[in-house]
Amino acid sequence: MVDNTKKIQNDTQMTRFWQSAKPYLLAVIISFSVSGILIGILGYNVPRAFQALLLKSFSSQRGFIQTLQKFIPLTLATYAFAIPFRIKFFNIGGWGQMLFGGSMVAIVGIALASFNLPAIIMIPILLLVAMAAGAFLSLIAGALKTYYNINPIISTIMLNFVAYYFVNFVATTNPWKASLGHPMTLKIPESGRLPELLPGLHMGILIVLLIIFIIHFMTNKMVLGYEINATGINQHAAKVYGINMERTLMLTFLMGGAMAGLGGGIEVMGVHHRLIEGFALTSGAQYGIFGILTALICKGNPLGVPVSALFISALLVGADAMQRTAQVPVEIVFVTQALVVLLIVVFRSTGNK
């Protein structure tokens, strides 16, 4: 009898797990089949392409380090969308906020070069600058919503373009620009660069792990997390019972923008050591854009963000490998991923019906 109930419990647990995993599996299988067919039709070597796509990141240490490299900015870009999405607002400005964070780090970093500050001071300053810059852009959108009821979808997108041209401005203008070639700035001082933990993996990974921990803690244990959660479920009820909607909105945008800005700053401080036009790109698109897709995969649930980001990072590394080894255009991966997200959203809704 006891065994029986246990078995039933196990069974329901299994079905529950299957129910929740099903949309993701189905979506991945279908989108991969579609892209596989596409790759085949285009005359590329399908097995080779898929081998590269799926196995690259886990088959070698180098692949895994590359995955973690992408995981750093992608996780932060994902939070940029996911945190405001918690209260049903769309921050499409992740990529602009990243670009702005990176630009400001370059400007401040170059400006501080002559002071010869030690790394222990320089790095925190630049990280704060990055967060402040990202938050500045997102707070403009938050304030436009709060005080003037202007849709953040539009304002964040418009600010993306502003940030995009700002990068170009900084990278081509004195006193920042490097002398020749592709638009980029001078290098930031040595003390402002993030040290490497392993070859190819900089300290940014520790910062991201810390951020993941903080966001988990906030979501589960803090009054603020509860207030954001409550507002997300039902903003009317939250308002009636004393949760200040405007404050929550501003705070989530602030946090989201700070995460994106940090992501951009870390790319400059850890990878390029300078601002380069097109620096926050991967597989032909902005991390900010992948961040939206990644966040949609986990419904913007902050606890799901790292998992979702790890999955997409692995695919992005695979995509690069696929392009190198099988010459398949990276856009296929981009399209596949958008398709994965669309299908996940679709299958999740069919599951609810």
Partner: protein
């Protein structure tokens, strides 16, 4: 009424929503030219049955016959073509359109032109014929509930409706308007229209209808002629219980205890004026009243006349533009909602689903809402979930919430159980004043009784209650005094011995 000429008949209609069986093999028939009451508790399936007839829901099984011909109704358009019209419980007029535009919306005819002046003459003539006049060129959002109902009736008649379904038409009407509506209905019936009158009030059925059918839990209990039935018989029919003690408005009979009111008011609202928060809101003008300990102070008014704004001004006093509010003699004008709650106030809003709960949140998370900044539940911004969970478990026991555990999402519970959680949350702390808006709406008899008992208990414990309700029957039953609001003003306060349905009703509509 032409006896025995059946215009509409349903046979074995069944309809389920998910696991809930809303209608079970319902047989129902209408005679030409009758006023047919459809009686039942909240959730008995009255609206569902009528929505099936109107094509808004499709029945899982069963047949519909009109003039003895089997018909297939799969959309409102089918139903309209068969001569059925429905006046819904809440207005289904486009607020931004004028009355005339609403009346002609969707009718057959040349679709690529718009001849408003031609239609105007026809609509006007029809409205005159039945004494249902209304301004044609005013946007519907600026019309009162009573007028909107007229527009809806004309809209149905303009489409040639021969069978008119009125879904709880008296919810937003006062007594005088009910009499008027009844007159219009009688005029319609004289012209050969058949009327279905949905209500949960036995009194209205006896007053208005020729026959009445009773639904309970989705099952048809039977049909009686109102000339040879009594209130007691209908009660027994409606609740399938002889011994139940209800009023003729189908409310539980309660005994109000004699409680000596305090000398000083627990809550004193002094000349407050509040500007509306949005376009559709109401400006409150110079409102003053006192509530004493142990008193249930009722507020009557047609929905949207400022009662909600009064409640929100008390729990969110920073909105007040002029005047002041005192709790036990202390001004709260500068406090935030959370700080007001700390003074021993709590609130259960009108719209349970929309404003009171976090549907996908657990019962525990819902219990915390409004208490989330209290010292005993958090320290330096970090929540003590153990304590909160214990509190939630205790609340579930005390308020007899039917749920597997406190981790269940509140949205999975029934309306009555949700309301128990909502009231339980309000009563976690000892209160000075409870503000509650329509706490019984949509609840079954058992839950209504539970709510009433809780209010009486609060009264006995010397708590003040601000009881806002759009249903005058309920207010008169349970309030010690009733304040009447109209257009953002408190126009009168009645004590129990002064209660008069017609007097209060006419003040509610600005008379």
């Amino acid at each position: 009424m032409d006896k025995n000429i059946t215009v509409l008949e349903t046979k074995n209609i069944s309809k389920s929503f998910g696991k809930v069986k809303a209608l079970k093999d319902v047989n129902f028939s209408l005679y030409r030219g009758e006023i047919h009451g459809l009686l039942g508790e909240n959730g008995a399936g009255k609206s569902t049955l009528m929505k099936v007839l109107y094509g808004l829901y499709s029945a899982d099984q069963g047949d519909i016959f009109i003039n003895d011909n089997k018909v297939n109704i799969s959309s409102p358009l089918d139903s309209i073509k068969l001569g059925i019209g429905m006046i819904h419980q809440s207005s289904t007029l486009v607020p931004e359109f004028t009355a005339l535009e609403n009346v002609i919306l969707g009718i057959e005819g040349k679709k690529l032109s718009l001849d408003l002046s031609g239609e105007r003459i026809k609509v006007k003539k029809l409205a005159n014929e039945f004494g249902l006049d209304f301004p044609l060129d005013v946007k519907v959002k600026n019309l009162s509930a009573g007028i909107k109902q007229k527009v809806e009736i004309i809209r149905a008649l303009y489409r040639g409706a021969k069978i008119l379904i009125l879904d709880e038409p008296t919810t937003s009407l006062v007594e005088n308007e009910f009499d008027q509506l009844l007159k219009s209905i009688k005029a319609l019936v004289a012209e050969g229209v058949t009327v279905v009158f949905i209500t949960h009030k036995i009194r209205e059925v006896l007053q208005a209808c020729d026959r009445a059918s009773v639904l309970k839990d989705g099952e048809m209990m039977g049909t009686v002629s109102t000339t040879n039935t009594t209130k007691e018989e209908l009660v027994e029919f409606m609740f399938q219980n002889k011994d139940i003690d209800v009023t003729d408005s189908a409310l539980p009979v309660i005994e109000l205890p004699e409680v000596k009111l305090s000398k000083e008011p627990v809550c004193s609202v002094k000349n407050i004026s509040v500007k509306a928060q949005d376009k559709d809101g109401v400006n409150l003008q110079d409102i003053s009243f006192d509530i004493y300990k142990g008193e249930i102070f009722g507020i009557a008014g047609i929905s949207g006349n400022g009662q909600k704004e009064i409640a929100e001004a008390i729990i969110n006093p920073r909105r007040i533009n002029q005047g002041d509010i005192f709790i036990n003699g202390e001004s709260i004008a500068k406090l935030k909602t959370i700080e007001v709650f700390e003074k021993g106030l709590f609130y259960t809003p009108e719209d349970r689903k929309k404003e009171a709960i976090l549907p996908s949140g657990t019962i525990t998370e819902n219990m915390l809402l409004g208490h989330h900044r209290e010292k005993r539940f958090q320290h330096n911004g970090i929540l003590n979930w153990n304590k909160i969970t214990k509190e939630a478990q205790q609340s579930i026991r005390e308020f007899q919430v039917k749920t597997p555990d406190e981790k269940t999402p509140i949205g999975d519970l029934s309306g009555g159980n949700i309301q128990r959680v909502v009231i339980g949350r309000a009563l976690i702390n000892e209160l000075n004043l409870l503000i509650t808006h329509n706490p019984t709406s949509g609840l079954d008899m058992g839950s209504v009784e539970f709510v009433f008992n809780k209010l009486v208990e609060l009264k006995e414990n010397n708590c003040g209650v601000l009881y806002i309700n759009e249903d005058l029957d309920e207010l008169m039953l349970i309030s010690d005094r009733i304040g009447v609001v109209h257009a953002g003003k408190l126009v009168a306060i009645f004590t129990r011995e002064q209660y008069d349905k017609y007097k209060i009703g006419s003040l509610m509509i600005g008379g």
